[in-house]
Amino acid sequence: MTDKKNNIWLKIVAAIVFTASAMMFAFSMVGVVAASEKGLSSRDVTSVRKEIYDERAMSCSIDILSDIADNGSLDRRYDCAPALSYAILESDIKLDKDDLLEGRYDASMVIEGSVDKNAIAGVVCGMEGWRYYNYTRNNPLLISYCSVELPDQTTDYDCSLVLMSDRGTQYYVVYSIDYNAAEGTVFAACDKVARYISWCDANGAGMMVISGILSIVTFVALMYLAKNTISFGNKIPYAILLTLLGGVEAACILCIVGAFDGYVSFNSILLISLAAVGLGASFFLWFSMNTVTRFKARAFMRNTLLYYMCIPARAFLKNLNENTSLVVKAVIFSAVVGVIQLLGLAVVASEFSAGLFLFVIYKAIEVAVIIWFALQFNRVKEGMSLVASGNTDATIDTTHMLPAFKSHAHDIANVSEGINKAVEERMKSERMKTELITNVSHDIKTPLTSIINYVDLMEKHGTDDPKMQEYLEVLDRQSERLKKLIEDLIEASKASSGAIEMNIEPVNVSVLLSQAAGEFEEKLKKKELIPVVTVPEEEQTIKADGRYLWRVIDNLMSNICKYTMPNTRVYIDLITKGDTSEISFKNISASELNISAEELTERFVRGDKSRNTEGSGLGLSIAKSLTEHMGGTMDIHIDGDLFKVTLTFPKV
């Protein structure tokens, strides 16, 4: 808050300093320019004063001549004695300058006034009808200067006399100056002007430098301090602001010019001029700060008349864009293109070479537009195919896209986001399910431990009753089965939810199969099954996790031991197919397989449907989940009683 306040005070002070130095600069500059223009540089005050008096006297004389030219007679105004005394002479002939200056003029020529012949300070010459002459030639300045004749100057004299010689009557104003009687006369301001010019001549350059630097510094500082937020003043359309600036500055200049032209006192001229310069400078300052603020707020374009005019047009176009279907847009587009083509055709018809040139340009634009369209379409397409391939994190870069493509790309992104969310939800619920199953299973295990232990203790304790013995066996068998079921349930839920960390590395299947065969040798023998293992001589290596691949094979082999018809052969083959290795297990089912291959891998489904045999019915489901989790596939094929499971894994 205090910062802001300080800022405001700082700005006010800087603005005052700027305005003051601008005024000072103008004040000094006018004096310096005047001094150098009038050739008054580096002269003492007395001579400057004389020059100023001379000039004033001459301008009075010109006024007198103008009166004569305008009215044919002299009217009032110059009650200037005793400071300036003059005589008006009339002559049909050209007078010699020296004659006049030396007072050798004929008394009959004097039509008004009188001047001491020995004190003539200057002569101004004009002629009858010269105004008329000037107007027709449209060059009044030339004439008025030509007719001016100053005592110490010989310039232009000949020229004026040549011009005037064709004309009739010529008029001469001859004047003398009393340099000591200034107050209250036409020379009233001359002393001040002389002092001003002398002062400026001596100090003006320094003042200009100082005030110039000061004004530039304060200006830059103010530009820096200019706020960067838009307020009402910054919202004025810029064109209006510019017009305002032009108006104010022009008014200031007019004020100054008017003050100089009007016959007002030197003090008034000075005051009016300085006020005008101050006003102009401060207005310019405000304008500049306003402009800078617009740029700082990055709101320059937004507050121009052009922009305001464009708003309705843009709103209309936007409305059109949003509310018209792509088909309508396409029709409009083709119509516009058609008109352009028609115009081109007309050109071709009238002038072939120009038409050809236009055609080349048209084609270039057309190809560029088509490529642009294609590129955008491609981006959308690539994004779509990424999403379609399951990469739900895919995003499409929509910068510089046509609105139609953009909205399409956004829709695709939304779809993938939706899928992502659904997948995430699904994963989350699977994980929660796994957690629930695991926790519940752990809780079931505790009472089950007691059941198993006490059944075991009862068996150990022994009973003579054969019926009791039989019941105990059932209890023992069923509690063991419950134990197995719980363990499989935990594993199945983990395998299907992917909560298992796999360590995929090269695994030698040949070795693994021989290890598995060793593990199952006895169990197979017990069921009178004959394993026939066919492995290529070359050792096969696949990408898998050895431990979990063993779990898969363990499950499959356990199934084989459980469900195969005794006294048959079991075929285990390892085949290489291109980039993959296939392990197949074939056996003859003991009971009829009235079930589809798909159903078999669903949880809790068993081949016999009666659910009487051992096992949880989760073995195939676990095997399939684990295999897929390792990046392999498991296929089941049923052909009559022939049951075949094929595991496919990528080779290393």
């Binding site: 505790t446 070795v511 593990e519």
Partner: protein, 231 residues
């Protein structure tokens, strides 16, 4: 024979264990939470602890770390959590063995026996030297002079091939041996489609020296590579 502390919040399990252990001739002290178990161990004279993990109040893991501060008595964890990571965690924090619920009483008793024997044997351990033809690993001891194997101090009856395989593993502790290597080492001839033989022999060997052949302590299966005896 030994004093065993059984700690489980399930009273029925504790009394069942008590019956088993008593029938095997052990003296049994009961505790029903971690705090109690720690106090009983502090009182001294305990030879082995059977400790449940999930108990109200102080759980088994905390109790074990307390027990380890004052004693190196063998501790067997007894828990319903059967995942591999749980087992590794249990063994890492200082348990000597791990039995998952629901457990097989026979297996549990075998593990208790094994732990007790090793604990007691530590004091009278004969210096092991391969020069003298005696090889040791964990509870396994092979006397190569008379080709005799003992596990936890009990004689094990091995065939000549099984003995040779076991010796081969002990000599190559910490190395994964492929069936081919083992075959060459034991049979002294190149294998030709006979890798299954090695697998069968190893399974037999495991059945003789392991308490639970499906979860071997000594001869581990590295699926797809071979077999290994961990150091």
């Amino acid at each position: 024979m030994g004093k065993i502390l059984v700690c489980d919040d399930e009273k029925d399990i504790v009394s069942a264990l008590k019956i088993y252990l008593n029938s095997d001739g052990y003296e049994v002290v009961c505790a029903y939470n971690g705090m109690e178990a720690c106090e009983k161990v502090k009182d001294g004279d305990i030879d082995l602890v059977l400790l449940d993990i999930m108990m109200p109040g102080m759980d088994g893991v905390t109790a074990l770390s307390r027990i380890r501060e004052m004693s190196n008595v063998p501790v067997i964890f007894l828990t319903a959590k059967g995942e591999d990571t749980d087992k590794v965690l249990g063994l890492n924090i200082g348990a000597d063995d791990y039995v998952t619920k629901p457990f097989n009483p026979v297996e549990l008793l075998a593990r208790v026996r094994s732990q007790l024997r090793r604990y007691k044997m530590l004091g009278s351990a004969v210096s092991s030297s391969e020069d003298s033809g005696i090889y040791r690993h964990g509870g396994i001891e092979l006397d190569d002079n008379i080709k005799k194997a003992t596990v936890d101090g009990e004689d094990v009856n091995l065939t000549k091939t099984e003995y040779e395989i076991l010796l081969c593993f002990i000599k190559n502790k910490g190395k994964v041996l492929s069936p081919k290597q083992i075959y060459k080492d034991v049979w002294h001839e190149d294998p030709y489609g006979t890798e299954n033989t090695v697998a069968v022999h190893i399974r037999h060997l495991r059945e003789k020296i392991e308490i639970d052949p499906a979860n071997p302590r000594y001869i581990k299966v590295v699926w797809g590579y071979g077999y290994m005896m961990e150091e």
